[in-house]
């Protein structure tokens, strides 16, 4: 079947070959999981550029959008990796609050050095991620349920412990602890560029997206992430340590939540007990808009970041357009549906093209 092009009936196979090559080009373009999100982002940008051009098309407008997308983007990247690995983490949102509260309470109430507080908070995040992962791989229960339980436990503890310690639902005065300035510099500070105010969070987000993309696309561990999400058993049969990969991914997600938690408390100068609740679905939605399949084994980190930008644009765009912000979620729902439909259509198209190419080849085999 291999060298059918060299058969005597040259014109027919040659014609077929040309077609496959041409299809291959479009296939390559549309096979990228993030293509749907990219088209969606362009549509949303153009939409607001028409409605509110004077604010939207400016350096300040870009800065506002990036500020609004950055922490969401960091979480979306981690959640996308986890989803490609075939799992969910519903405790990721509330975890940004928990880690902030731990660091804040240790520094403010227990007078622990702020850097030590931050590290203890990180250790806690890693432990929760590990436990989430361990329960999921050992029990084979859906991670949706396991992390939903973690979500409720943390949500209750966030309010309960905070009220117990402070008789309030927030820990204030974090900016009065020694070393706060340096922590702020590391996690979340402002800088000026081209006359607008940007935040270092955006730089973190860009670096994390690049590193995660390299990890996913260009290391063996990335290959394992795709494999455990596609079929953990098949991956195991090929020698991939499936359980360890999944546990590591839960730990990556909880570490990202810790990072975002630290970014939040240095910006607000206080840790709020309700922080992050409800965000977990936003992360998942951003990853899905970015091309991640809910069933795992397929997706893109860059796509998840583009998904976060779509959210940021919607949030800022509604304000710029002068609409009531009450409509944000309705707008978001429409955007989500539109993005997912575009996504779905492009993926179907890519699949249809691939199937057509495979069929053409099989037919050619039959001929020879």
């Amino acid at each position: 079947m291999a060298n059918s092009t060299s058969s005597s009936t040259a014109p027919v196979p040659l014609k077929t070959d040309e077609r496959i090559v041409r299809v291959g080009f479009f296939q390559g373009l549309f096979r990228q999981p993030e293509i749907g999100a990219l088209i969606g982002a362009i549509v949303v940008w153009v939409f607001f550029a028409i409605i509110a051009p004077e604010n939207w098309i400016s350096v300040n407008g870009v800065a506002r959008i990036l500020d609004s997308s950055s922490t969401l983007g960091i979480m979306a990247v981690a959640v996308a990796l986890l989803m490609i690995g075939g799992e969910f983490d519903l405790s990721a949102g509330v975890m940004t609050g928990t880690t902030g509260l731990i660091a804040g309470m240790l520094a403010v109430k227990a007078h622990v050095n702020i850097w030590l507080s931050i590290l203890i908070s990180l250790a806690f995040a890693l432990a929760v991620g590990y436990v989430n992962g361990l329960i999921v791989v050992k029990t084979r229960l859906p991670s949706f349920i396991v992390t939903l339980a973690t979500f409720f436990v943390l949500r209750g503890a966030n309010v309960g412990v905070t009220r117990l310690m402070t008789e309030q639902v927030l820990v204030g005065g974090i900016d009065r602890t020694a070393g706060f300035g340096a922590a702020r510099l590391l996690f979340n500070t402002e800088f000026s560029l081209l006359g607008a105010t940007f935040r270092t969070v955006t730089i973190w987000w860009i670096v994390i997206t690049i590193v995660a993309t390299w990890f996913l696309q260009r290391t063996r561990y990335g290959n394992w992430v795709f494999a455990v999400g596609g079929d953990a058993n098949a991956a195991r049969n090929s020698g991939v340590p499936s359980d360890r990969v999944k546990i590591a991914l839960f730990m990556v997600t909880s570490t990202a939540a810790w990072l975002v938690g630290m970014m939040s408390i240095v910006r607000l100068r206080s840790a709020v007990a309700s922080e992050g609740i409800g965000q977990e679905f936003i992360y998942i939605i951003a990853a899905v808009i970015g091309g991640c399949l809910l069933t795992g084994g397929y997706g893109s980190v860059v796509g998840a970041s583009i998904g976060a930008i779509i959210f940021g644009m919607a949030r800022v765009g509604i304000v710029f357009a002068g609409w009531d912000t009450d409509w944000f979620y309705s707008f978001l729902g429409i955007m989500l549906l539109a993005a997912v439909l575009v996504n779905n259509a492009t993926r179907r198209r890519a699949e249809a093209v691939s199937v057509a190419a495979a069929k053409a080849r099989t037919e050619k085999e039959e001929e020879t």
Binding site: W214, G222, N223, A234, A235, N237, E351, T362
Partner: protein, 269 residues
């Protein structure tokens, strides 16, 4: 005759009070194909699992390269070069060919302390390896799920060969395939055999087994019904053995059907 590459002697496997296999012996030599035939429930699956290291036999000996073996896991068997290609193939449909091919054994390159998956080399080598099996991959980025069943089997087989298999155990590789696609897989079996591998080809289709096999072991109800070389048996006799020679009328019908399929098969190979 030379020493067998892999041999089982008088293997018995009990599951509680159920006798799955009773005193089964079989062997495979380098560069030869041993076909393991049997109808459903004959004990083929149990024997594969013993050969691949999933189960340990209750009684009997397992010899590989002349040494007695007792595997604790399929991984141990695989590391010695006993590769099993199961029906589910352990392929990920959403992943490109090159990612699938090297899964678990990715080629790496170092940048100082960083170790990266050598993607360019993986793409090139997967094309080269598949070309050695006589398959021309135009696009290593094609998702495996979009390929035909025969092509997927070919990837799984060439992957096992590439990663140094000495014995290749193929679990019903032609079962779900059309005549043309099955012919393609049989072609790969012959290819791997010529490269010096010992192949254990499990099937319930004597028409697929006969053209490529050197030895035929027919299992029936957990026992070896027949064990012979190709020159000791005709295709017709093999078909008769499989049917068990009991219900003659039924057998006659099956023969007629098998004959037609066999002719088509012969034309295909």
């Amino acid at each position: 005759m030379a020493e067998p590459l892999l041999e089982v002697r008088n293997i018995t496997k009990l599951f509680g009070s159920v006798i799955a296999l009773s005193e089964v012996s079989a062997r495979v030599y380098r560069g030869e194909v041993t076909c393991l035939l049997g109808d459903n429930g004959a004990g083929k699956s149990t024997l594969i699992k013993i050969l691949s290291g999933v189960y340990r036999p209750t009684e009997g000996q397992y010899l590989f390269e002349g040494k007695s073996m007792s595997f604790r896991s399929p991984r141990e068997a695989r590391e010695l070069g006993i590769a099993t290609v199961y029906q589910d193939l352990a392929l990920l449909p959403l992943m490109p060919i090159w990612r699938n091919f090297f899964l678990g054994s990715e080629p790496q390159k170092s940048w100082g302390p960083l170790r990266a998956f050598d993607v360019a080399s993986a793409r090139r080598r997967v094309r080269e390896e598949m070309a050695k099996m006589g398959i021309d991959i135009r696009d290593p980025d094609q998702a495996v799920g979009t390929m035909s069943g025969g092509e997927r089997q070919s990837i799984a087989i060439s992957r096992a060969v590439y990663f140094g298999a000495k014995v290749l155990i193929l679990d019903e590789p032609t079962a779900a395939l059309g005549v043309r696609q099955a012919g393609m897989v049989l072609h790969h079996i012959v290819h791997a055999k010529r490269r010096g591998l010992g192949i254990i080809f499990i099937t319930h289709n004597p028409n697929h087994a006969y053209p490529v096999g050197d030895h035929f072991v027919v299992l029936r109800r957990g026992r070896v019904l027949s064990d012979c070389r190709k020159d000791q048996i005709t295709q017709q006799e093999l078909i008769n053995l499989m049917a068990g020679g009991q219900d003659l009328l039924k057998l006659q019908r099956e023969l007629e059907e098998a004959q037609t399929a066999g002719n088509a098969e012969a034309a295909g190979v």
